[in-house]
């Protein structure tokens, strides 16, 4: 732990990542306390005060129906983080199991699992998610499903490659010699050695999941109004550039901060855990 702290502190970029993410996560968690206008996350309109540039008390200005942008961005972080975490919690185990099984068992299993993975990988991610969302109702749950469907193959690829290398290692052969079951070898011997790579990738991916979810809602396929969402905020403001610049600049910056922060944090974790991409 001390070593980890030392590594992070010695690298200013890692430190920046930790700070940014601490900021993002705490604004999402404490949105109710921090947001100056908590009711503005919902169905509120205030046409006496719409489309106003940043000023006190609306430090990031107001949107097209008079809601405080700063408050909405805080709540949008909450949605984005929930979405990112849920997607990864679903996608990672699925991808890991597929990758482990394909890599360790090999043969026909490997062929079927990895070719299926390849099929998913061959479809451009946004197109896949868009077609799923196009068929289903655009809701938060379906959005998560759509992004999950395009995310797991990357983990099966990653784990598959590691497994191929690890299964020739001495400790695996030793376990096999004393008669350990396949399940034991896969999950107790090989999997722990995949963790550094998986965790690093998860941290990096959290930013990208947020980005993809924003792209989906930019296209009108994500979270539906009045729920605040960074992607749809950018989309809504785009028609009003350059005059009402705050409508797009602040939500855009918010996306940037989250994605950038998770990237830096991912790099920092890689240094700490010694995993490599």
């Amino acid at each position: 732990m001390k070593r980890a702290a030392a590594i992070v502190l010695s690298n200013p970029m890692s430190l920046a990542g930790v700070i940014l993410i601490a900021l993002v996560v705490s604004s999402a968690v404490f949105a109710d306390l921090v947001a100056p206008f908590p009711s503005h996350r919902g169905a509120v309109v205030d046409f006496a005060n719409f489309n106003q540039p940043p000023s006190w008390p609306n430090i990031m200005g107001t949107d097209l129906v008079g809601r405080d942008l700063f408050s909405r961005i805080l709540y949008a972080y909450r949605i984005s983080l929930i979405l990112g975490i849920v997607v990864l919690l679903l996608a990672v185990p699925a991808g890991v199991v597929v990758g482990l099984a394909a890599g360790y068992i090999g043969g026909r299993t490997r062929f079927i699992l990895m070719r299926t993975t390849d099929v998913f990988l061959s479809i451009p991610p946004l197109v896949l998610a868009m077609s799923i969302m196009g068929v289903l109702e655009p809701t938060l749950a379906n959005g998560m499903m759509a992004v999950t469907a395009m995310w797991w193959p990357w983990y099966s690829r990653l784990v598959f490659n590691i497994t191929l290398a690890e299964k020739e290692e001495g400790y695996v052969l030793a376990a096999e010699l004393i008669g350990a079951s396949r399940i034991h070898v896969m999950f107790r011997e090989i999997l722990p050695n995949c963790f550094p790579a998986i965790i690093t990738k998860m941290t990096l991916d959290l930013g990208f999941v947020i980005l993809i979810a924003s792209s989906l809602s930019f296209l009108g396929l994500g979270v539906q109004p009045p729920t605040p969402d960074l992607g749809s905020m950018v989309a809504q403001g785009a028609s009003y550039l350059p005059d009402s610049w705050w409508l797009t600049v602040f939500p855009g910056l918010a996306i940037l901060v989250a994605v950038f922060g998770f990237n830096l944090l991912g790099d920092a974790l890689r240094d700490v855990l010694g995993g490599d991409q």
Partner: protein, 526 residues
């Protein structure tokens, strides 16, 4: 930040002066894609702009007042079920072919034969015959008061040219020249099509042989571009690389352009903005629930939202079911207003429990203003205890959804205009039970009293009769509350001040017909 942007803009404006001087005789505009060039398929605003310039009609709306004046026709006589038109003898098509009565007959037959676009306007025409070379007679199956008005939607096409260019198809008329006319012009109009790509751009050039002559000041070339983003139009206009915006850019963008010295052009009096309530599905099949919605809605806030400058707005207060100025309308000033108490009492009488339903409010993806109107409606309904959800629907999907009542949203937001300027073409298509299930009529209203008033309105022998019928219709529509009447619409365009468009800036020159203000021959470039 604002200052930096402003400084950049000013820099652009200087660069623009040079460009503007060079452009001289080219008028540059934009509209929503697609631009349908075939006049028999023309329905929306972009199509109308093309049609009114490439083609001419027998009559034109009188500028600055009600009624119609002869145009390709020299004069007409008749009433009831028979109308005879004498054609001008000095008109030739852009191809050089002279205009004859046969062309008029052919244009009617082609419109009805294809059966698309606004061909329904001629449903009561039984036959059209060429009496001689320059006289043509229309026979109607029953009196139809707005018949002459509907002729502004019968563009006259060059029969000889079309017959020489028939494409693949079944029957004698093959494709009625559809393939040819969707890419080429075949009219008598003041502007001829030079190139046409329905998704990108139509370029038109002045027709120097136009029968009325064209002022020197009118543009030599017109470039109509499709599908530009609001932010693009805003920048191009500020740079002097664009001349007139479409009406669809948001009010804030128009305001910013006005602040930059652009002029605002307006066109009004032909339509309104509606929240259309699906009367066939719970909970809005109960009139009290519909009234609860109508009374909850904050009509005054909408006016704030659509205001552009102190003097120009995207609309004016609605006074009832018929836009101010049309037959049967309530006078300006008797504005609809929010009444929360009334809304609550209607809701209490509704047979559905508000705890158990959610009203689905849709908005058209191409019209960003509607998202805000949906949010306003949602907040208004929340105040009286009605839950609602908001759904964004692209236009193409919406027109498909409304063909079945069970797929039609509870609340749909639509702008509708009278395609001929006559109230019949606004109201019949929305409320007659036989017309249910189009994008104009997602109410699926079926009310015998409404039907009767609509019939009386279209067959009324005198203006007084029509006035009476439409006034009764107005009252009845407010009782059944099939729609919420948001506001009377005014189309607003931001334009470079060097362009003079009298038909869109001087009420005495206004046509009272959507799109006709863009008769390029009447536009002056300075």
């Amino acid at each position: 930040m604002t200052r930096i942007l402003k400084a950049t803009m000013t820099g652009m404006a200087f660069a623009a002066l040079a460009v503007a001087a060079e452009a001289g005789g080219t008028l540059r505009l934009d509209e929503v894609a697609v631009g349908e060039l075939d006049p028999a398929l023309a329905t929306d605003y972009a199509d109308s702009m093309l049609m009114f310039n490439v083609y001419d009609t027998l009559v034109l709306p009188r500028q600055g007042g009600p009624g119609h004046v002869p145009h390709l026709a020299e004069s007409w006589e008749g009433s009831g079920t028979s109308f005879t038109f004498s054609l001008r003898s000095d008109v030739s098509f852009q191809s050089g072919n002279p205009l004859t009565a046969d062309d008029v007959v052919f244009s009617y037959e082609r419109m009805v034969g294809l059966g698309r676009g606004l061909s329904y306007l001629f449903g009561l025409v039984e036959s059209v015959e060429a009496v001689d070379g320059d006289t043509v007679r229309f026979n109607l199956s029953q009196p139809y008061a707005p018949f002459v008005a509907s002729l502004v939607r019968l563009p006259i096409v060059d029969k000889k040219l079309v017959m020489e260019n028939l494409g693949e198809g079944e029957g004698d008329m093959k494709d009625w020249g559809k393939a040819f006319l969707s890419a080429n012009g075949a009219g008598t109009g003041a502007y001829a099509v030079k190139s046409h790509n329905p998704q990108e751009e139509t370029v038109m050039v002045r027709n120097d042989n136009y029968f009325l002559g064209i002022s020197e000041k009118a543009p030599d070339t017109v470039r109509l571009r499709y599908g530009l983003e609001a932010a693009t139009v805003r920048t191009l206009l500020a740079q002097g690389e664009h001349d007139i915006s479409s009406q669809w850019i948001p009010p804030e963008v128009k305001k910013a352009l006005a602040d930059d010295g652009m002029q605002l052009l307006t066109e009004s009096g032909t339509g309104a903005f509606y929240f259309k309530l699906n009367t066939t599905r719970p909970p809005l099949d109960d009139v009290n629930c519909r009234k609860a919605l109508a009374k909850s809605f904050d009509y005054a806030s909408v006016l704030k939202l659509i205001a552009i400058t102190d003097n120009v707005s995207g609309g004016s207060a609605s006074t009832g079911a018929i836009p101010v100025g049309m037959f049967g309308a309530n006078p300006a000033g008797q504005n609809l207003a929010r009444d929360i108490e009334a809304a609550r009492s209607h809701l209490a009488q509704c047979k559905y429990d508000p705890a158990e339903f959610t009203v689905e409010i849709s908005w058209i993806a191409e019209v960003p203003l509607e998202e805000r109107l949906a949010l306003l409606m949602q907040a208004n309904l929340a105040e009286v205890g009605i839950k609602s959800s908001i759904k964004k629907v692209p236009w193409a999907l919406f027109t498909e959804m409304v063909s079945k009542p069970e797929n039609t949203p509870n609340v749909s937001q639509i702008f509708v205009t009278a395609v001929t300027g006559d109230p019949d073409t606004l109201l019949y298509g929305m409320y007659h039970s036989s017309a249910a299930g189009t994008w104009q009529s997602p109410e699926y209203l079926s009310d015998t009293e409404v039907d009767a008033h609509l019939e009386a309105g279209r067959t009324g022998a005198s203006e007084a009769d029509r006035q009476e019928a439409y006034a009764a219709l107005n009252t009845r529509l407010m009782e059944v509350t099939a729609s919420i009447y948001g506001f009377d619409r005014q189309s607003v365009f931001a334009a470079n001040p060097r362009i003079k468009v009298p038909a869109l800036s001087d009420p005495a020159k206004a046509f009272g017909l959507d799109g006709m203000g863009f008769s390029f021959r009447l536009i002056e470039m300075e």
